[in-house]
């Protein structure tokens, strides 16, 4: 999530309103206030609104939301006369370039912080950690146009930001902190992306690091923006968001000639939406005129077009407007979520519990009736608990997670009994007897279904107790069963049995093997039963398979 720092002084100056009013209304435009400090506030904005990742962007939106200035903000772009070429060799490396020139900017500490925060948040939200989009901002007066975006030899050297010596790009990936952090994005390419000026001086090694040469300071007056990436739409969105923020900070935006077209245009787009469709979605009667007024407060230009239509002009920085409903959500926000009269849906339907869940509930009432306590173990576990400590062979149908986060969570359980015995281990210091049961999902292969297991730990626990519980479960769940000698090594030989129903083994029961008790550090005998609930007549088949 993007947490943006808003300094009050700068925010108040840009919005033209006091901080109390801004803070009160800010959550209702779609944000979470994380921390309120003496001179600033940290606010989390949604990833769908990267245009709010700067003080300038927030101020622009709040001016509309508070009714200080509504409608479309206008951004003028004049040609800079500068050109920027793109090397066709980058097509398979990092093909897209966005750029702009910003002149006459006077950056102070707060606007520099805002700009750096914006850049970082865009790298995360739009840039997917710089792989999709990376942004560089340069002091234009330190270099000579025209500029070239090229695929360069990996051994090309320059002085990277924060260093005082030349390094090759390969060295940067090995040694520079930013190089190490982002090396994976470019490491495998035969050549590396590089931006140079007319004198072959290096501005940037995107997406890794800028050159020290063009470092931006409070004295920088004219800036060059470079935005490179693998997705043209995202690259242009980043350019639009940064340029409009810098224009709001007082800069003049000038376009650059890239492959024959002037970049950026900062031109809005238009959509014709239906007031009736919006009213039907929100449940509020809105005329085209009403809808227009609401949208103007969200900084759209909007005017009625015909008896149902509204022509909406969408500013260039609104990357999230993909569909008419995205505009309707903005209308809802302008209307105010607190102003909707909530009403129950008129839909009449009859409630119905799922049969698998009804069976699970039945097992619960059976378990408690037998005097057992329910527990709810995790479904993620390890081969060690599921098989090795149980003396059972690994089951081939076990589902392994590809990148486990710890040694305790490497597989999805295929049985519940081992987890119940582990639960007894957690409760070694608690009063005896301990009788526990659980009912829940297991996965075999890709199929999810329910099992239930029972354990009883006390000095007199034995095979007869396990058999009696297994018998009670089967009788109460209407499972017609027979028994067979079991070979399950988790139980003591001669004190174990399988439950067989319709020719299929559907459960095991018996007295847990002392070696298993040792493995789980238990000191008393354990009588145990596990049963596959698909054996219960009426258990719905095939619903747990993708």
């Amino acid at each position: 999530m993007a947490v943006i720092t808003l300094h009050y002084r700068y925010l108040e100056r840009l919005v033209g309103c006091d901080r109390a009013t801004i803070l009160e209304r800010l959550p209702m435009i779609g944000s979470d206030i994380e921390r309120v400090e003496e001179d600033h506030v940290d606010v989390e904005f949604f990833p769908s609104r990267p245009d709010l990742f700067s003080v300038e962007g927030v101020a622009r939106a709040m001016r509309g939301f508070l009714g200080i200035e509504t409608g479309l903000p206008e951004y003028r772009v004049t040609p800079s006369g500068i050109s920027f070429s793109v090397d066709p060799g980058l097509a398979s490396i990092r093909p897209y370039l966005g750029t702009a020139v910003i002149r006459g900017i006077a950056l102070d500490e707060e606007s520099i912080l805002s700009l750096m925060g914006l850049q970082e948040a865009l790298h995360w939200a739009l840039g997917r950690g710089r792989s999709k989009v990376a942004i560089g901002i340069h002091d234009l007066d330190r270099v000579t146009p025209p500029f070239r975006y090229v695929a360069a030899e990996r051994t090309r050297a320059f002085v990277p930001l924060d260093y005082d010596r030349e390094m090759t790009m390969e060295e940067i990936l090995e040694e520079h902190p930013k190089g190490r952090a982002y090396a994976a994005i470019v490491r495998d390419f035969p050549k590396f992306p590089l931006i140079v000026d007319a004198c072959n001086q290096v501005l940037s090694f995107p997406p890794i690091i800028n050159g020290e040469l063009t470092r931006v300071t409070a004295d920088s007056r004219n800036l060059l923006l470079d935005t490179t990436g693998t997705d043209e739409r995202a690259v242009m969105t980043a350019v639009n968001i940064i340029c409009t923020a810098l224009a709001d900070a007082g800069g003049r935006i000038e376009s650059v000639l890239v492959s024959g077209s002037h970049v950026p245009s900062l031109a809005p787009s238009t959509r014709l939406v239906s007031a009736r469709e919006c009213s039907a979605l929100l449940g509020v009667d809105l005329t085209p005129a009403d809808l227009s007024l609401l949208l103007q407060r969200m900084r759209f230009a909007a005017e009625p077009a015909g008896d149902d239509g509204v022509r909406v002009t969408v500013p260039c920085y609104r990357a999230d407007i993909m569909h008419d409903w995205d505009i309707f959500e903005d209308a809802a926000i302008a209307y105010g979520y607190e102003n909707f009269r909530a009403a129950l849906p008129p839909t009449f339907t009859i409630g119905r519990a799922h049969p698998a869940m009804v069976i699970a509930s039945t097992v619960r009432s059976l378990g408690t009736g037998l005097g057992y306590q329910e527990v709810i173990p995790f479904t993620l576990t390890s081969e060690r608990v599921m098989y090795q400590k149980m003396q059972r062979p690994d089951a081939p149908e076990t589902l392994c997670v590809l990148h486990p986060i710890s040694e305790e969570n490497t597989i999805v359980r295929t049985a519940i009994l081992p987890l119940l015995i582990e639960m007894l281990q957690f409760n070694r210091h608690r009063e005896l007897p301990q009788r526990l049961f659980a009912v829940g999902d297991v996965v075999e292969g890709l199929a999810t279904f329910q099992k239930s297991a029972f354990v009883s730990l006390h000095p007199a626990a034995d095979f007869s107790e396990a058999y009696a519980v297994a018998d009670a479960l089967c009788r109460e769940l209407s499972i017609p069963y027979t028994t067979q000698e079991s070979g399950d090594p988790a139980f003591i030989q001669g004190r174990r049995g399988s439950l067989v129903a319709n020719g299929r083994t559907v459960g095991t029961f018996g007295e847990i093997h002392p070696a298993v008790l040792n493995a789980f550090e238990l000191e008393h005998p354990v009588a145990a039963v596990e049963i596959d609930l698909t054996a219960v007549p009426g258990y719905p088949s095939g619903q747990g398979t993708p």
């Binding site: 209702m28 435009i29 779609g30 997917r128 999709k132 959509r271 039907a280 979605l281 929100l282 449940g283 509020v284 569909h323 008419d324 409903w325 995205d326 959500e329 809802a332 607190e338 909707f340 009269r341 909530a342 129950l344 849906p345 008129p346 839909t347 339907t349 009859i350 409630g351 119905r352 519990a353 799922h354 869940m357 509930s361 619960r364 378990g367 408690t368 057992y372 306590q373 329910e374 527990v375 709810i376 995790f378 479904t379 993620l380 589902l399 392994c400 997670v401 590809l402 990148h403 986060i405 969570n409 639960m423 957690f426 409760n427 608690r430 829940g440 996965v443 890709l446 999810t448 993708p546």
Partner: protein, 482 residues
């Protein structure tokens, strides 16, 4: 005063002897010493007798200790075995050298230099040897021997029972020693003999032993309560697999293929794949360019292979969308409570698996206002009376809303998320009407309800939590607050 027969009998004996130990008293009463202590404690509770308890500690030599008491401690035996000095290599041949050499050095009886052991002359018997000769000496020596495992301690509790003046006065008045009966027998009940029996009285002050009924886990009881509310509100319950294809978990919900949630650090991916379903092309087109809707789509590329990768479901919305695909005609009102997975490092507020409750309403003419109305009603039935709504963001809903409920002591607490399915989500399957959707991380409510500080406690159960959490608490307490 209402004495039991046993108390009266003890009082009677005490009246004669005034004072005695349990064994002697027991012999006179034809019972055991343990029972006498029980009866005496009851009498003490009434002020009729006094029970004094004294712990006597005695020591007994272990087998090894007894041997040393006869032959001397190993170091004593060894120091006697040589004159003023001896090479270490020779001394090591002594059968007790394993213990003896160290002890001799520790006690300062010898010095060892250049492999030669030499007596210091300061080898007078220490407190341990004095104690070994006479255990009653006690003190430091006994402690040293005990530390070396040469003797063991026995503690004996000695009771002395004395009649108080009050007891004496009561006994003087005369005691009725008619027989009392503890357990009624079948014979006594059917024969009518019970009419002549004197039944022993029990004391209410003696607390019963605690028994614990078998119970459903308090967390499950909360889940059941939510299920019940939704069933009462007319929802049908759905159930499905923990393993889902990325197609149903992400693509069908219009989550772009390069979305951060689809990276391996956030989601448990599996090596297994399942084919995309019939009609997947419409979902693909939706991602690429918005299909036939007013949407632009995400652009870029769409990989079928990426959609076929299996994951442990990150939300149960994957079940909701599949239910909608199977039931595209209105009305649909379904919910699901199930385990979902996030690839999180486990700590007190994060788990890799937890329960999610979620549901959808699809019908003609349902609107955003109905979504808010449903949420208010549901949270109200859960006991959260104050509910408010803020704009939210979820990739597959538009508009989106974050409901918050007011909890005493905590303020406004975010309680799940909700929204209306984007047209991009429902259009590929011919679902023509709005779908209201909402989800809730149930564990959060459970923490509030059960007053837990650590989410892990829900799953790694302390049996005492289940035993001590009452089945029923007054609604005000359990609903909406802690």
């Amino acid at each position: 005063m209402d004495l039991s027969l046993n108390e009266k009998r003890l009082l009677k004996v005490l009246e004669t002897v005034k004072k005695g130990d349990p064994a002697t008293l027991a012999a006179r009463m034809d019972t055991t010493a343990e029972s006498v202590i029980q009866f005496a404690l009851l009498l003490e509770g009434r002020g009729l007798a006094r029970v004094e308890k004294k712990v006597n500690t005695t020591y007994q030599l272990t087998e090894e200790g007894a041997r040393y008491a006869r032959d001397g401690l190993p170091e004593r035996q060894m120091i006697r075995s040589f004159a003023d000095r001896i090479p270490m290599s020779d001394l090591k041949k002594h059968p007790l050298s394993g213990i003896g050499i160290g002890q001799m050095r520790k006690k300062g009886w010898v010095t060892i230099r250049d492999g030669i052991v030499e007596k210091t002359g300061m080898d007078a018997p220490g407190s341990d040897e004095i104690a070994l000769a006479d255990l009653s000496a006690g003190g430091e020596g006994v402690a040293l021997l005990q530390k070396r495992g040469l003797l063991c301690e026995h503690q004996e509790t000695v009771y002395t029972i004395t009649l108080t003046p009050e007891g004496e006065a009561l006994a003087a008045k005369g005691l009725d020693l008619a027989e009392e009966v503890g357990t009624l027998t079948r014979e006594q009940i059917t024969s009518g003999a019970w009419k002549d029996l004197r039944l022993r009285r029990y004391r209410l002050e003696t607390l019963p032993r605690k028994i614990y009924p078998g119970k459903v886990h308090p967390y499950q009881r909360l889940l059941d309560e939510m299920r019940q509310i939704l069933l009462e509100m007319g929802f049908a319950e759905i159930y499905g697999g923990l393993v889902q294809s990325s197609f149903w978990n992400f693509d069908a919900l219009f989550q772009p293929q390069d979305h951060p949630a689809r990276e391996m650090q956030d989601t448990f991916f599996l090596k297994e794949t399942v084919p995309v379903p019939l009609g997947f092309e419409k979902v693909r087109d939706m991602h690429l360019h918005g299909g036939t809707t007013s949407s632009t789509g995400w652009g870029g590329h769409w990989s079928r292979g990426k959609a076929e990768q299996c994951v442990l479901r990150t939300h149960t919305t994957s079940l909701s969308i599949q239910h909608l695909v199977a039931h595209p005609e209105p009305p649909v009102k379904v919910f699901c409570i199930g385990r979902v997975y996030r690839r999180e490092s486990i700590d007190s507020t994060h788990l890799a698996e937890f329960e999610q409750l979620e549901g959808i309403v699809m019908d003609r003419d349902v609107t955003f206002r109905h979504l808010l109305g449903f949420l208010k009603e549901f949270y109200g039935r859960m006991g959260f009376e104050d509910v408010r709504f803020r704009p939210g963001y979820f990739p597959y809903t538009e508009p989106s809303v974050e409901p918050e409920v007011y909890v005493d002591g905590l303020g406004w607490v975010e309680m799940g998320g909700a929204g209306i399915f984007r047209e991009e989500v429902r259009a590929p399957w011919g679902v023509a009407h709005p779908v209201l959707a909402w989800g809730l991380g149930v564990s959060r409510v459970a923490m509030l309800r059960l007053g837990l500080k650590d989410l892990r406690q829900l799953y790694r159960t302390d049996i005492d939590l289940v035993r001590e959490t009452p089945l029923w608490r007054q609604a005000r307490e359990i609903r909406g607050g802690q």
